[in-house]
Symmetry: C2
Subunit: 172 residues, 2 copies
């Protein structure tokens, strides 16, 4: 039960992207520099987020990434599932059938109680993640964060965001 390191990077980057103005974009290289990450690897995470329709990518010069929808409509669960996969963490291998007692499948129509309990717990986990929106993260940071850190973040965003000319037409 270990989450990949990319989850943390993805959430931080998404929060940063939530702070830029209008439909501006920010290059992955800038995000990587902002958090001291490998640009090449972060690109893979951002690409997964884009595949999950959480981010949008704009190619070419003055391109970059931006949120695909409002920060109020993006939850931490969305990001975690995009990076770690949608399958539950506990995968029932139905090992109860593999023993020497070779019963036919009709003996196992009822779901495994262990699997049910595990999935119940995971539903609670996901529900808790779904309650936190990206906008909550940003708002909490703006309200409670250290003023120097906020100022540095704003300056960084101002320096690296690339305003887009055309309107917000979705593409993939």
């Amino acid at each position: 039960m270990k989450l990949g390191e990319g989850v943390e990077a993805s959430i931080h980057c998404a929060a940063t992207l939530a702070s830029l103005a209008g439909n501006s974009t920010m290059p992955a290289a800038a995000l990587a520099e902002s958090f001291g990450l490998s640009p090449s690897y972060l690109l893979k995470q951002l690409n997964m987020l884009a595949a999950a329709r959480i981010l949008e990518s704009v190619p070419g010069p003055a391109g970059g990434y931006r949120l695909a929808r409002e920060a109020e409509r993006i939850t931490l669960l969305d990001i975690v599932l995009a990076i770690e996969g949608r399958e539950p963490a506990f995968r029932c291998g139905e090992i109860r059938r593999n023993g020497p007692a070779k019963l036919d499948a009709s003996a196992y129509v009822k779901p495994c109680g262990i699997n049910a309990a595990m999935l119940r717990a995971e539903r609670a986990y996901r529900a808790a993640l779904a309650e936190t929106r990206l906008s909550d993260i940003v708002a909490e940071y703006q309200a409670e964060g250290d003023p120097r850190s906020i100022a540095a973040s704003c300056a960084f965003v101002e320096r690296h965001q690339r305003p887009q000319k055309s309107g917000s037409t979705k593409r993939s």
Copy 2:
């Protein structure tokens, strides 16, 4: 966010051990055969459970494993933590400090909001796991499971459990 395969095996084995009589033990080889697992690898899982004081190991002939305490006092959380480790799945690497803005540590005395949200979700997950006791798993299986499967399990337990000297001398 993937749990190891050993978690499933551990819970199944613990449930099986909860079904044997008195302070009898069952060898790891029998448990492995019961679920079609590698005996050598299952031994590692059982050893971790024993290190966590969930199981007890009895060496020598007629030895094996048994629960270290009543099934009512063992939760799924105990088992999961013993196998997967006690550390939270989300480990905050404090990447917010690694950027080019070199602020000193006083700017980061407040905990990271992202980390807080993640840990909150994980607390919900663990709380849900802690609500399910091993005895609940066994009881649910005895009540709802397929009769053929229950009979096979009981026969298997009867055949492989090893009564200990100080306990009840029940043997066919």
